[in-house]
Symmetry: C2
Subunit: 467 residues, 2 copies
């Protein structure tokens, strides 16, 4: 594209601006205020630099790990630097699962020329899984494409390693829909196979990309059946192994994993506030989760959410906005494998004379923002939707009912507090989610900043006009 | 983000679907048809594979280069495979500029310790620029931050190398707005400096990213002043050199470039059609440009646009849609440094008994789609805007007046044909534009596919309902 032919872009942008400002009364003031927010973030924003420090000096920070504590210290320091008038830690008990070393998965089969073959397959134990202790598990592999097939073949399962090869449905426009559908194989698949006597489970990764990254993530054992080791493999390996088995050929897996639980330990929600000037007891909670899976830096899941939340506070302070209500940033502990930080916050985060007024989370990545997804009553939702024209110039086109972020949803469930989540474009999210590729380099500076612009704008509107 | 808390995504999606289908009459049929388009592209789409072949077996394909001819052959083959009933080449004369080898730029200065220093600076000659022949140009550097400053300092320019350090404005939400503003320094800056006696020009790259990639792109000499060599440097180098000079320190550049023009040569618009069943003389033109700059593979600029256009044809054929009007895919020649393919097409592409009914281009990258930008009259624009609810589930939220793609705009200018361009999210575009990083690996398969979905849907609606 040449520059000459871009002359109309500014015209097009002016058109959007006119549309926005034509709506009336206070919206002109609000448009200008939101532009001020945007200018500050795009010029002086700290989200990207803060994320770099978190990713590169702390790294992966699974609950109970040494990095978790380092991340908590980073959180306090960064919240203070952003301008919080109060910072503190809120303790909660968290599980302490460790991978214990490199997972080792070997495929054992007779190749097309009749030669016995062993091939290393890149695998990551699922989170919260048991390992194989000081030994290994080795058994023939049974291909199971879905749970219906598991039920049909239940007599064949005993003594086998079940390989669930359930793919992301590519026709869903929203990859989160595919994740919601396929994720159940990671979460409940191991115990469902164990019920019929499987000795281990390997799952196709919850992803729809073009690479071979294995994706970890929590599994959830049914305590009424034996716990069995379980791991994820990448899509390319899942494809060839799936085709191999589907053609009637035999294959065995040898799997070794040192995964195990240590005793529960103490983690903290990391909290920073600006006290409200008019309604200091009405708490607007804004958060991301500080913990991440261990294979990488948790840059998108959910370092981005943490620096988004901190950026809201920094920006309001930097432009001299005095909030009416208390703005409370919470970097939640243990979202990935227990949700204990969020549970603790909803149970004890509110003093008896405080109200949880609103909750906002960013936990869907650092990508270009598209909208907000909410749990709220109709009146609250409609009030927020009136603001869409103010957010459109910054890329947010919809505010719709739906998921609102695992860490703030308990506020809705327990107190009917309206809660929302930033919805970034999701096409790239499941290339990185819970993989070794979730690193700082896979975050785009301006896309990250645009998320913070829209979050800060929404918080400004809610604080100013109420819900 | 855990899977457990994504259960509401599907609910949220159902809500969008209801919104879409509640509008009435034929829109339910259209929704289902567009879903069919989407399913085919997301399941059987060839855009990504086609782009891989173009990028990896042809590569960069500047007008007049051997790769340009290879790309034309690729275009015919790929259009035939996609199901075109007719394919042909339309000849046009194109400029044949060559870089002639690696640009060499050295900064010469006395370092902080008083030591004479030479430092290589990564540079790319601007396109269409003259080189330095068999010699080099060496001169003190004059920092010019903008054209106002050039006018103030015009007496100092003679014999100098002017360094334009005009930055992308980070506060513009749309990077194309920043490009429209900064691009003039690349396009007219060299001649404006030459007018006052500059011997060469170095420009800060037209970009707002975090890396040091130099960005090439066409310059446009004013024929009334001497032509001088000119090149772009990356943002990190521009920053340190700008700061160095702004602090009053001296610096000279030595620049060597073998850039030159060879005689004009013959290139071709590559065309493939499906003949319309009802109005075969009404031509719907869909295109991208086949040429690219030389440093990389032109994956985003504009290989993506070529495979988008071809995918529209492939999809309509694959799902058995018989267009009423003739669908004509045009892979335009020479957009980057002459626009001769588009000019030729508008002048001679229409037989006397044909009408250019509509034109659609993709030349703004492979990223997640956001909207369409149009040149059309009010009635046509409003008609298209009625279809927005049909496109929303696929990410297109706006159809607005604005730029419509350099290659189809002549159809509007000459014949008042309504024309439009796909608007992908642009935050990442100027990280890659005209750099060595514009390679296949920087294209996301599903984002590319979603562009094709929306383009095909729009063409289906225009063909079915007219404009």
């Amino acid at each position: 594209m040449t520059v000459i032919h871009k002359r109309l872009w500014m015209k097009s942008m002016s058109f959007c601006w006119l549309l926005t400002t034509a709506i009336g009364y206070a919206q002109n003031i609000d448009s200008l205020f939101i532009k001020k927010i945007s200018n500050d973030i795009l010029t002086n924003g700290k989200a990207y630099d803060n994320l770099k420090v978190l990713c590169k000096t702390v790294g992966g920070r699974l609950s109970g790990s040494a990095q978790m504590y380092k991340a908590e210290a980073w959180g306090i320091t960064t919240l203070k630097a952003a301008g919080a008038d109060t910072t503190y830690l809120q303790a909660c008990k968290v599980p302490h699962w460790v991978r214990g070393g490199q997972d080792k998965l070997t495929a054992i089969y007779t190749d097309a020329k009749g030669k016995p073959t062993k091939k290393t397959v890149d695998a990551l134990s699922l989170g919260n899984a048991i390992g194989t202790g000081n030994t290994f598990v080795q058994a023939p592999v049974l291909l199971i494409n879905n749970f219906d097939e598991l039920e049909k073949k239940k007599a064949e399962v005993k003594g086998k390693i079940v390989f669930y090869n359930y793919p992301f449905n590519p026709t869903y426009i929203q990859p989160f829909t595919a994740y919601a559908e396929a994720g159940v194989y990671r979460r409940t698949g191991p115990s469902r196979a164990a019920k019929y006597g499987a000795v281990a489970v390997i799952v196709r990764s919850m992803a729809g990309g073009t690479d071979n990254q294995p994706h970890t993530g929590a599994t959830l054992y049914d305590t009424t059946v034996p716990k069995i080791p379980c791991a994820a493999i990448g899509l390319q390996d899942a494809d060839w192994i799936g085709q191999w088995l589907a053609s009637g050929k035999k294959l065995a897996f040898n799997y070794q994993s040192a995964a195990h639980f240590l005793p529960d330990t103490i983690a903290h929600n990391v909290i920073g506030e600006i006290k409200g000037s008019t309604f200091p007891k009405e708490i607007i909670t804004i958060g991301g989760h500080l913990d991440s899976w261990d294979p990488a830096e948790g840059a998108n899941d959910d370092g981005a959410g943490c620096v988004h939340a901190i950026e809201v506070l920094r920006t309001l302070q930097a432009i001299g906005y005095q909030p009416k209500r208390t703005i409370r940033i919470v970097l939640f502990a243990n979202e990935e494998n227990g949700l204990r930080g969020a549970t603790q916050y909803a149970e004890t985060g509110k003093k008896t004379d405080e109200t949880f007024y609103f909750g906002l989370e960013s936990d869907a990545g650092s990508f270009t923002p598209r909208g907000f997804s909410c749990m709220a009553n109709t009146a609250q939702l409609e009030k927020m939707q009136v603001w869409i024209p103010l957010l459109k110039p910054y890329g947010v086109y919809h505010i719709t009912p739906g998921n609102a972020g695992a860490d703030v949803e308990p506020l809705y469930e327990k107190f009917k507090t309206p809660v929302a989540e930033l919805v970034p474009d999701a096409q790239r999210y499941f290339d990185l989610h819970h993989t070794r590729a979730d690193v700082f380099e896979n975050v785009h500076k301006r896309e990250l900043a645009m998320g913070a612009v829209n979050m800060t704008a929404l918080i400004y509107l809610i604080d100013t006009y109420g819900l």
